[in-house]
């Protein structure tokens, strides 16, 4: 068929083939019709754009509906923590495990707890709203509870975690809590929940304006213990008068361990109840001697052979060999800070003992007196620029990670922290084990030679100022006295403020000779326990 002359082609139809307009059978002009009105033959046309448009709409809507149905009925896969690999970042998975810790509330209102399933451990993050929903549903897990939940995996080279998908997906089976005597509690029981009962010997509320926990001191026939809890649990306690000294209480607690020290946490404020004398159930302390050999099995009826316990897979090492050593390995002990590290970036972990704020308008840094686990002292400095991005500034008693550069001043190391984000709270829970164990107290008359350590319980008197400290005469119940020295750099400020004549205290210190007399020099940290 001959191509039409150029002038016959309509604008915009240059590429349109002529046979789309003429009947392929009879050759007559048919225009836009798809069947020839003269002979009825079918006329092939280019596909209409409108058809493609509606096809796209159809594909989008029907496809989306199918995708929704597929997602709705797609069961979330149950994945072992140890099987989580880096390519699973952002995966929605279900984890079936045990809560390693109670739920902890962060400063921004969100919450978190650790979950483990025998193959590994993950931190679960719960948003503030989800946390409120869990609390309302009574699904806030406690240490030892069996937990199932759906979450989104969030992996990075160093921190792996799970973000809770919804409160509705959480299923919690409370761990059975058996009664235990206070004396039987130990850090080897970390991760377990127990029912304890004891008589209140003391109760301390946190200073106003801080987020430090409450501490409740208990005793029973077997020993003593300190239980900590936060404002949330305190608010749940119905009868707050029950916290008065001398009251017998029963409560559910969970045992945790940090750096070899036991921590007892109140699981739930509603579990705390005052006991009348007739309600107290004696709990016999377990024998703490050497473990007994297993009792011989009864001869008469041999027990059926138990199936072998499933062998737990080895805990997954997320460090992927060389790239991410465990957090502990990245920490530098304070005693290793020396001039060879000057100017280098290091990370240390320590408990803040004292905060020295600069004077108003001064450009000097804030100084923190920090003691690491080994008891070595370090001054950490940060300036106003770093402080501005801190939501909450470091407080005495809490444990932090500090990352900064080593500064050597007068041969003594200090740490200069440039950013507020480089000061991270590790724990604001003071060790549950009292800093001074009164049970170790010895009479003053038994103290003979310098060099040793001792705990003395006595009453303070005859206060005298020293350069950089204060000394008291510490008189024990037998009437024997020894000079007790408390250096400013060693004793936290809040504790120093409680020292006064007439105060009964327990002091843990080092025996030193001073001016020919034996002195008890209080150790660094919370080495003084006010008793009355």
């Amino acid at each position: 068929m001959a191509e039409p002359a150029k002038k016959d082609v309509l604008p915009g139809h240059e590429t349109q083939k002529l046979d789309e307009m003429n009947c392929p059978s009879c050759g007559r002009f048919v225009g836009a019709k798809i069947h020839c009105p003269y002979c009825g033959a079918k006329v092939a046309k280019r596909m209409s754009l409108v058809a493609v448009r509606y096809a796209a709409v159809l594909l989008a809507t029907i496809g989306l509906a199918c995708l929704w149905a597929m997602a709705k009925f797609h069961a979330t896969p149950v994945v072992k923590i140890g099987d989580i690999s880096p390519t699973m970042n952002f995966a929605q998975i279900r984890v079936d495990g045990t809560a390693d810790s109670d739920v902890r509330t962060f400063r921004n209102g969100s919450m978190g707890f650790n979950i483990s399933d025998g193959t590994g451990t993950l931190m679960v993050f719960v948003s503030q709203k989800q946390g409120e929903e869990l609390r309302r549903l009574g699904k806030l897990p406690h240490a030892g509870d069996a937990v199932q939940l759906n979450g989104t995996v969030s992996l990075s080279d160093k921190n792996n975690s799970l973000r809770l998908q919804s409160a509705a997906s959480v299923s919690v089976t409370p761990a059975p809590a058996k009664p235990i005597a206070l004396g039987d509690l130990g850090e080897d029981l970390a991760g377990s929940a127990f029912l304890i009962q004891g008589q209140v010997t003391g109760f301390t509320a946190p200073p106003t304006g801080t987020k430090r926990p409450y501490s409740l001191y208990l005793k029973d026939d077997s020993g003593t213990a300190a239980v900590t809890f936060w404002q949330d649990e305190y608010d749940q306690i119905a009868d707050k008068d029950a916290l008065a000294e001398g009251t017998w209480l029963r409560m559910r607690i969970s045992v945790a361990s940090y750096k070899g020290k036991m921590q007892l946490k109140l699981s739930d404020g509603t579990s705390l109840e005052a006991l009348a004398a007739e309600d107290r159930v004696p709990v016999a302390p377990a024998a703490k001697a050497a473990p007994e050999p297993p009792a011989p099995a009864p001869q008469a009826a041999p027990a059926p052979e138990a199936p072998p316990a499933p062998k737990a897979a080895p805990a997954r090492d997320f460090s992927r060999r060389k790239k991410a050593p465990p957090a502990g390995d990245l920490l530098t002990p304070v005693r290793e800070l020396n001039s060879s590290l000057a100017g280098q970036s290091v990370r240390i972990r320590g408990r803040v003992q004292e905060v020295k704020e600069p004077a108003e308008g001064s450009k000097k840094p804030t100084e923190l007196v920090v003691y690491d686990e080994a008891g070595d002292r370090l001054v950490v400095k940060y300036w106003d620029a770093a402080a501005r991005v801190m939501k909450e500034k470091p407080v005495p008693g809490s444990l932090y990670d500090f990352e900064g550069t080593v500064d050597i001043y007068r041969s003594r190391p200090a740490l200069k922290v440039e950013s507020g984000y480089k000061i991270r709270l590790v724990s604001d829970v003071p060790p549950s084990v009292p800093a001074v164990d009164v049970a170790e107290a010895v009479p003053v008359s038994s103290l003979a030679a310098a060099g040793g350590k001792a705990v003395v319980v006595g009453t303070l008197s005859e206060e005298a100022a020293l350069r950089g400290g204060v000394k008291y005469l510490l008189t024990d119940e037998a009437g024997d006295a020894i000079e007790a020295v408390f250096w400013e750099g060693a004793i936290p400020r809040d504790l120093r403020a409680q020292l006064e004549n007439g105060r009964k205290v327990a002091v843990r210190g080092i025996l030193k000779e001073r001016d020919g007399a034996l002195n008890l020099v209080a150790e660094n940290g919370y080495s003084v326990l006010p008793l009355e």
Binding site: L59, L67, N89, F90, N150, S156, D157, S166, K323
Partner: protein, 450 residues
């Protein structure tokens, strides 16, 4: 070999590798980086180190990935202008860029955009990098509680700033009204459908959990890459003969004004969560109101570079701890930056890679023009489509292909009805904005996905 040389060679290697990938239309560097991450993890998991195990060292793959991001953000200009298949962040360069192409000045349009990218590199290295560690942590602390309402305002702006097209002819009444508002309604429908898809994929993705780090990739491919390839295959016009030139019709004033608008848009997109370069360019374009077409094209070069590279760099800013963009998320899976040395290494890598990339723009653009002369434009798009589909299938399987197909249906709506393709970003904007505002869970509950 000292760390300096290892880093330098890695940057150059990453840049050269990415240069080849960047010239292929529709292939996004994040898809390639995803495959690279898989490879590194596989090498890392080998019981015995092999010859390629050196690739698992951070001083090798981190600079290489930096080079890949830098080179792609600069060299992807070539297919954007010459082959007409931009990624979402280059949407605005297409119309002016295609004008250049249809006037036989595609090379010049490419080079003007590349000069913008080079200016963006200077902006990142000389302006952003020195001040970021000091000011961004503070601004992040101030802004982080406000991100949700900023996102809602951006969403509102995207939807409201689209204008009615058509409705000029025909009979008055509903038909004319519908003709005018058709594009807007389809835009809103695209946004809502993408948002629904986002809710599904972010909360109960059918993609296997083993490759979940790429679970949004099929959707992005379907929303952006496939529709463009299809459009090119179906309707691409014949490209007129192209000419090259030794000079560009720009001056210092145009460069500075482009850096102002592009840096603002790209910087905003890099810093804000979920906001992409296209959205940043839209906002900055309205905010700066620069009228010159050359500023528009060059500004998009700046914006794209600052968006991709700036977002990647934020991961390494000391004291900031901010992860923005797919590239940063993938690197974070392998490596967590821990010191100022890392930051300096990244800034240096950006500078080196930026320089190498710019020097490669001209030869690669000339090579692409020769290929266009030799091969049919449609065949190149068909090849790119085949590569994209193969990649989606290789990583996510049939489920991924199904998701990409559904997303293609959504992604075709703006193409076929003449609304903005930015509306497809509802896939992230809508669910994340709802989540940040605290009612995402409720919507997921209504959809029965919790």
């Amino acid at each position: 070999m000292s760390t300096f040389w290892i880093v330098l060679l890695s940057v150059v290697a990453g840049t050269v590798l990415s240069a080849g990938i960047a010239c292929l239309p529709g292939l996004h560097i994040y898809n390639v980086m995803g495959a690279l991450v898989l490879g590194i993890l596989w090498l890392d998991a080998l019981p015995e180190p092999c010859f390629w195990s050196f690739l698992t060292r951070p001083e090798v793959y981190v600079p290489a990935m930096t080079g890949m991001v830098v080179a792609w953000s600069m060299l992807n200009t070539i297919p954007s202008v010459l082959l007409g298949t931009p990624d979402e962040s280059a949407l605005f360069t297409v119309l002016p860029g295609q004008k250049y192409l249809m006037n036989g000045r595609g090379y010049e349009g490419t080079m003007i955009t590349a000069v913008g990218s080079l200016a963006g590199a200077f902006f990142v290295v000389c302006v952003l990098a020195p001040f970021a560690p000091k000011y961004l942590p503070v601004s992040q602390e101030v802004l982080k509680g406000h991100m949700h309402w900023v996102l809602w305002i951006i969403i509102t702006f995207i939807l409201m700033s689209e204008w009615p097209k058509g409705g000029n002819r025909g009979r008055a009444g509903w038909a004319k009204f519908f003709d005018a508002w058709k594009g807007l309604l389809v835009g809103i429908a695209t946004f809502v459908l993408s948002g629904v898809m986002g809710f599904i994929l972010l909360n109960r993705s059918p993609v296997g959990h083993e490759v979940a780090f790429q679970n949004i990739m099929p959707a992005f491919v379907g929303l952006f890459a496939v529709p463009w390839c299809l459009q090119n295959i179906i309707s691409a016009a014949d490209v007129p003969p192209q000419r090259t030139t030794d000079s560009l019709d720009i001056d210092g004033d145009i460069i500075l004004r482009s850096v102002w608008s592009g840096g603002l848009g790209g910087g905003f997109a890099a810093y804000m969560p979920i906001v992409t370069g296209g959205v940043g360019g839209l906002l900055a374009g309205h905010a700066c109101a620069q009228r010159d077409e050359r500023i528009f094209i060059m500004g998009q070069g700046v914006s794209k570079f600052v968006y991709y590279v700036g977002a990647f760099m934020l991961l390494f800013v000391p004291g900031l701890n901010l992860t923005r963009g797919g590239g940063a998320w993938m690197v974070k899976t392998l490596y967590t930056p821990s010191s100022t040395a890392d930051y300096l290494m990244i800034v240096g890598s950006i500078a080196v890679s930026g320089a190498v990339s710019f020097l490669m723009v001209s030869p690669l653009a000339r090579l692409t023009l020769k290929l266009i002369d030799r091969f049919d434009y449609r065949h190149v798009s068909s090849f790119a489509l085949a590569v994209i589909v193969a990649m989606v299938f290789a990583i996510t399987g049939w489920i991924g292909l199904f998701i990409a197909a559904v997303a293609t249906g959504i992604g075709l709506l703006p193409v076929l009805f003449g609304s903005r393709r930015l509306n497809c970003l509802g896939i992230l904007l809508l669910p994340i904005a709802c989540n940040m505002s605290g009612f995402g869970d409720a919507i997921v509950g209504w959809m029965g996905l919790n």
